[in-house]
Symmetry: C2
Subunit: 503 residues, 2 copies
């Protein structure tokens, strides 16, 4: 067995890799990205090869930090290195790329090898692009969902729990902060794990964090659910369907979101918390993830089909996603608006959306006859019971239950954009509002974001405020203003867009 | 402008990247793979971000070796770092991913940003996968070809030159070593740049290198062409259509070979040497790159169409590629067989293939009437003029012109696989023969490879030699034997494949 001298290289590459001298690699006929098997005592690890003619000398192998936890070696020690075969999951990915259907075993292997970092980023990208272009049928999506569940933790709450989810894509969607307390106040158990923002100005976890801590261990979550009936926590550290994070890491820079992967990722996380009933919000409209009604309906039916295969009862609400939900975007602004709405001082659109989705859960669980769920949800909201439940949730999660909307600190660097003319607001751009809020600092700066004074169809007079930008730092405010000037966040019917020539 | 303290990191990543501390990255809302602009004096470079919480501290930025040539900084110096926008070429890639047609400007930008390492490997992968799945029309392929030419060197030989190319995929294809001297002996100018093996047991450059050096600068090549009328050189260092190497680096691990990219890459290299006439070999058959005749004909017509847009007259020869060409695979074995054939002692199949392709060039250049080209080529071969020209080429390239086939050193570790039964050879597997030759050490060990004593349709008797493995190292021979036992290189009609149960 050929042995090499170890040089430790203190860099996290995010992959299992080693660095070899160019001549050594050539002798073994290895190319960049090929795989080698490292053996030290009883530890065996497969890693991919980087090649250098400077960093390591002949006879040396550089071991990146990522391998340290799985390979007990130290600087200067000897380690065996041999050429490793390509894992079969690479063949399965190629099979999908050729347009063939994958078996349960093959899909499970791909997910396992993704999690163990046995597949390179390029190979995972190939899998996701094949999902995007070749697609998967419902059998494969079911297998993918189950494989994603099996590769991570599952939480058994020991009782029947319900869940809600939005497929995302529309800014300002703070409805979870209303639905969870409404549903929990009615006695259903709703263990809501949420994500932080990936590309949006505020994820639900970012918004909730303005009111209370959101990071808990599994035992704490079980206790929370048992005591309060609901919580809004960050799901990122719970290792539920962990392949999802690794897939997202590739999808995000490629700007792809294969439908099969979206179905599997969402449903895997619901299965992992044992949800029996799920209401799914599909925001639809220009600038949302789904742009037209037909696609939304098709997607909804696929979720229902997949759910029935997995034993989860699914109902979908196709909601209007062509402009932000409510009047605020950004963690603190959204938390404030949600709290105001719980105190019956919120905008009607937000009340309608959250009570209709909550009502669906009531109907699905035999707590309301069909058509009557929303009325019950509205009643819970208006009576103050939802607000009381939210106070209880905030307190149990470690926040201040007495918090008032005005206690929430918003960014004090502000700029108002007014209507340049009289008329009706004909467009509010999701993507421009998101870009402005992010440029202003959201979600890292909690007080940053955008408030909308007018929405689509509102009549405004010249000089009326339309949107207000909030930032915590002057520099950020200026960046947000510059984004707003390049990417108009709204249009008013009859508004002059540009005057040419420009003098 | 925020400044950071430089830490030099002596690793080639193959990309332009820096490493930032996790907190710094968070403050700038940067994620892994996002881009930053580095400014030092008048030098500005865009790099992608790796993130670590150990390698660099807050306020530091790690600069990988790849950036050293373009960024004049040293350990401990201060450098400005700001968030950089995504280059527009990323949007163009997304446009292609959505299925839209790209403009000339957009394609040109993608190629330029590939070469300048402004695109990440993942982004290039996305582009190539979109080419694979979405495809490109002939306008786009033409634009891609021209962009690839413009991004590299072009060689102006100052006279009309011809070229031949094989799209590859069939082992043992040493016909270039016959065609170049035949064509040059007739007075045509044929500046043949070839590649080394990427996935095959021997590229044409690897094979030619057994007889003479193959690495030359542009001025040397011009002199060679002028003096001898032809050469067989390695094209890798000439920077002709350099994007091709970067695309191949991604295509290879993904096992993709998008047709639009193949068309553009091949024709870009022909344009870059100013070829006016091209004969293209399309090996077709099981295990070759193109498996059926209809696909070969379609591909051939696309090459002809693209050629006419670029001012290159193309003719295609669809040849049988369902088994290796001739009787040998591996650099030294192939060089020997080519030399034997030039001395009129080679196999008939090799003579037929090379003279028919050479004859097409004669017909295209008015040196033979249609249907008569091959006869002229055979005459040049049989008369010894092609051999004399090859001796001249070998001598001018710095090899020994008097070299005899038996002077060529073959690996002395050998193993013969015999026919296990009487019968006709019904299958010779391209992929198994390639895998065996590579396991035996080809192309790095020049003497390694495979000799075929029988080909498809040959009658053999039990115990007759069918293939012989050559290796330079005992260990390699054993590996090749083990590959041969797992992946049968041939089938004989009526041969028992396996006996069950196995005792």
């Amino acid at each position: 067995m050929p042995t090499y001298k170890v040089r430790m290289i203190d860099i996290d590459t995010g992959e299992k890799s080693v660095i070899m001298n160019e001549q050594d690699a050539k002798g073994l006929m290895l190319r960049v990205h090929d795989r080698v098997m490292l053996t030290k005592g009883s530890s065996k690890v497969v890693a991919r090869v980087d090649i250098s003619d400077t960093v390591v000398r002949g006879g040396e192998v550089g071991i990146y930090a990522d391998l340290r936890p799985v390979l007990p070696v130290a600087e200067g020690e000897k380690i065996e290195l041999t050429v490793a075969p390509t894992p079969p999951s690479v063949d399965y990915i190629r099979k999908k790329m050729r347009g063939e259907k994958l078996t349960k075993t093959e899909i499970s292997r791909i997910v396992k090898d993704t999690i163990s970092h046995s597949l390179s980023e390029l190979e995972i990208a190939a899998f996701l692009m094949a999902e995007e272009y070749v697609g998967m049928d419902m059998d494969e999506i079911e297998d993918l969902t189950r494989a994603m569940v099996e590769s991570g933790n599952v939480i058994d709450f020991g009782e029947s729990v319900v869940d809600k989810h939005s497929i995302g894509g529309v800014p300002g969607n703070k409805v979870t902060l209303l639905i969870v307390p409404i549903v929990a106040a009615a006695g259903l158990k709703i263990p809501k794990t949420s994500s932080r923002a990936i590309t949006s100005p505020s994820g639900t976890a970012d918004t909730m964090e303005v009111l209370a801590p959101v990071e808990f261990g599994v035992d704490e979550l079980k206790l929370l659910l048992q005591k309060v009936g609901g919580y809004i926590a960050w799901g990122g550290s719970l290792n539920l369907a962990p392949a999802d994070d690794l897939f997202i890491r590739i999808e995000h820079p490629l700007s792809i979101d294969p439908k099969s992967q979206m179905l599997a990722s969402i449903m895997a996380k619901k299965m992992a918390v044992g949800a029996s009933t799920l209401v799914l919000d599909i925001p639809t409209g220009k600038g949302a993830k789904v742009e037209n009604f037909e696609d939304a309906r098709r997607l909804g039916n696929e979720f229902i089909d997949l759910g029935s295969r997995l034993g989860i009862k699914v109902r979908c609400g196709i909601t209007y996603g062509g402009q932000p939900v409510g009047h605020t975007v950004g963690p603190a602004l959204e938390a404030k608006e949600a709290l105001e709405t719980l105190m019956d001082k919120g905008p009607n659109s937000l009340i309608e959306k959250s009570t209709s989705l909550a009502g669906m859960l009531f109907e699905m669980n035999g707590m309301a006859v069909k058509g009557n769920g929303q009325a019950i949800a509205k009643d819970i909201l208006r009576s103050g019971r939802a607000h009381a439940k939210m106070q209880e949730i905030i307190e149990r999660q470690g926040g201040d239950p007495k918090i008032k909307p005005d206690d929430i600190r918003l960014g004090d660097k502000r700029f108002v954009i007014t209507a340049p003319t009289d008329g009706y607001v004909s467009v509010i751009s999701n993507s421009a509002i998101s870009a402005i809020a992010k440029a202003a600092g959201a979600p890292v700066d909690k007080g940053a974001g955008v408030r909308l004074y007018a929405k689509m169809g509102y009549a405004v007079k010249k000089g009326d405020p339309v949107i207000e930008i909030f930032a915590e730092r002057e520099q950020r405010l200026r960046e947000a203003q510059s984004v707003a000037s390049l990417k108009p966040p709204f249009m008013i019917e009859g508004m002059l867009l540009e005057e040419l020539p420009g003098f």
